[in-house]
């Protein structure tokens, strides 16, 4: 029982970070109806930037978010403007898969060139410290990462629900033609939306680098997990993807603890297959699809 609860705690904390990555992925899908296959690579890029800021300048990995987030926001805006926006015609969805995959490969290549392919890790002094709460181990890094993810998700929610820009994003998601008629600049909304999606990847990447050993190829594994979460959450619903991330985090953590860690990774794909077979629109898809 103790082991089970410990696994659930670990799963929730890990799931929070996936929720952050997936929320950016969902935002991009919601606005532009494209699946961003570079989201995992952007997370890894964020992790490497954090690594360099930490090892070269001694900047705390959590604090480095202040630098990595705006930087990747800009990268996202440029990627959208230069590579996604010129896509035209009825097959934009398919073409954008190729384009974002190419972006992922380019990031992987650049990182391999700069850092090599050895697994690395961001290890601040408190990396291995943990608190004992009621007999359960809570890792400091995981806990702070979880809280940070919640704060950033809340900020994203606030931007979408309470600001004029957020309203224009939701309007574009729900009825793009009508939004344009009211003067919303869809191309600007798309660029900033892509930037915000990349920014969440940057923030998640800083944390990811402390929780996992990574190398430039880590994005393949990441993107497959993210796609699982996003599909499970019902493509286009941020709330759905947050819940899906927590469900997946807990499920794989329990399987790791009760069976073996290797089966923990496998859980993602078993769940994805089951969802696609039994509920192809995701856990929440039918109800909130397309509303963000």
């Amino acid at each position: 029982m103790h082991a089970l609860i410990q696994a659930i705690i670990l799963g929730i904390l890990t799931g929070g970070v996936y929720a952050l990555m997936a929320s950016g992925q969902t935002l991009i899908f919601g606005i532009m109806k494209i699946v961003n296959l570079a989201q995992g690579a952007l997370v890894v890029l964020g992790a490497y930037l954090t690594y360099t800021l930490f090892t070269t300048f001694g900047l705390d990995p959590f604090l480095s978010i202040v630098i990595t987030t705006p930087l990747l926001f800009l990268v996202g805006v440029v990627v959208q403007r230069v590579l996604i926006r010129p896509l035209r015609g009825s097959d934009v969805a398919e073409l954008s898969l190729l384009v974002t995959f190419a972006v992922a490969l380019a990031i992987e290549g650049a990182l391999s060139f700069a850092y090599g392919s050895t697994l690395t890790n961001v290890q601040p002094a408190y990396a291995n410290s943990s608190w004992t709460v009621l007999g359960f181990q809570v890792s400091v890094v995981r806990f702070v990462a979880f809280v940070l993810s919640l704060v950033l998700l809340a900020a994203l929610y606030f931007i979408l629900q309470r600001t004029k820009f957020g309203r224009s994003v939701r309007a574009t998601v729900q009825n793009p033609a009508s939004a344009e008629l009211l003067g919303v600049n869809a191309s600007r909304v798309s660029a900033i939306g892509f930037g915000l999606g990349a920014a969440t990847a940057a923030a998640a990447g800083s944390v990811f680098g402390m929780l996992n050993a990574f190398n430039p190829g880590s994005h393949y594994d990441l993107i497959s997990r993210l796609l699982t979460v996003v599909v499970l959450g019902g493509l286009g619903s941020i709330g759905g993807s947050v819940i899906a991330a927590l469900v997946m985090g807990v499920a794989s953590s329990i399987v790791s603890a009760e069976a073996a860690p290797i089966w923990g990774d496998f859980t993602f794909f078993v769940v994805l297959l089951l969802v696609l077979l039994l509920r192809p629109r995701g856990l929440f898809g039918a109800r909130v699809r397309g509303a963000l």
Binding site: R167, A171, A177, A179, L181, G183
Partner: protein, 269 residues
């Protein structure tokens, strides 16, 4: 974002506000409009009727800027609209309410109406407009926290009309406002449209339901095969036997609509 305000000097009541001359437009190589001449005076409701495919919606699009005229002129209060972006036309006070449901279903009624003033940055002005619009369309206040998608078709149309007033527009383009509505909602929508001109607004209305459209309009225009075949007072067109036969369902249903007899000028080969 640059502030957009309505700065255009409008003509006096009853004088030409919107003028289209020899307008051709279409998608790709094909032409839908083949030389449209139409004048809409300030304070008027003008109703465009005509068969499917005649180009009624396309006329509205060339005015709001969703489509640019290939040839001919589109003038609004003396300004050449062809050179302006849709957003700039919005700034001049031209609002387009499209045919399909145009609300944002997952946003509240209040947010939807607020979106009508998206191009305005003056918060106090937006708040004042919200109050005026709510007074005029009580449903906006009554259902303000409801999601727009949960409203009936007739209620949604009322909210769309309310939203169109947020820019205090001089010209409102209404595309098939009564489509898909039950008779009671249809009556309510036409009543709301009739009220729009009370404070000097101008309405260009496209209506498949020609009888109701002409009844509410000061003037009507019959569009046929991309040209204006006939114009006249709304009441006169309603009583015109030829228009009645072709568009008001008096008889000859299903016959290819032609107006040669009534309007020789429109004689298409």
């Amino acid at each position: 974002m640059a502030e957009i305000t309505t700065t255009v000097a409008l003509p006096a009541q009853g004088e030409a506000l919107l003028e289209l001359g020899g307008v051709t437009a279409g998608y790709g190589a094909g032409l839908i409009l083949r030389g449209v001449d139409l004048t809409v005076n300030r304070g008027e409701i003008v109703c465009l009727i005509g068969p499917n495919g005649a180009g009624k919606s396309t006329v509205l699009k060339t005015v709001s800027g969703l489509l640019t005229a290939k040839d001919g002129f589109v003038r609004f209060a003396g300004n050449d609209l062809n050179r302006l972006s849709p957003r700039e036309r919005l700034g001049l006070g031209i609002v387009h309410v499209p045919q399909d449901r145009s609300l944002f279903p997952g946003m509240t009624v209040w947010e939807n109406v607020e979106m009508g003033a998206f191009v305005l940055n003056d918060r106090a002005l937006v708040r004042r407009r919200l109050e005026e619009v709510t007074e005029r369309f009580p449903i906006v206040g009554r259902r303000r926290t409801s999601l727009a998608g949960s409203l009936s078709g007739g209620e949604q149309k009322q909210v769309e009309l309310a939203r169109s007033l947020m820019l205090d527009p001089a010209l409102i383009l209404l595309d098939e406002p009564s489509i898909g509505l039950d008779p009671k909602s249809r009556t309510a929508v036409f009543a709301s449209i009739a009220q729009l001109t009370e404070d000097g607004r101008t309405v260009l209305l496209v209506e498949q339901n020609a009888r109701s459209g002409l009844a509410v309009a000061h003037r009507g225009a019959v569009l046929e095969a991309g040209r204006v075949a006939l114009t006249g007072a709304g009441s006169a067109l309603l009583e015109d036997p030829e228009v009645g036969r072709l568009y008001l369902g008096a008889s000859a249903a299903g016959k290819t609509p032609r107006l040669d007899a009534a309007a020789p000028a429109a004689a298409a080969p």
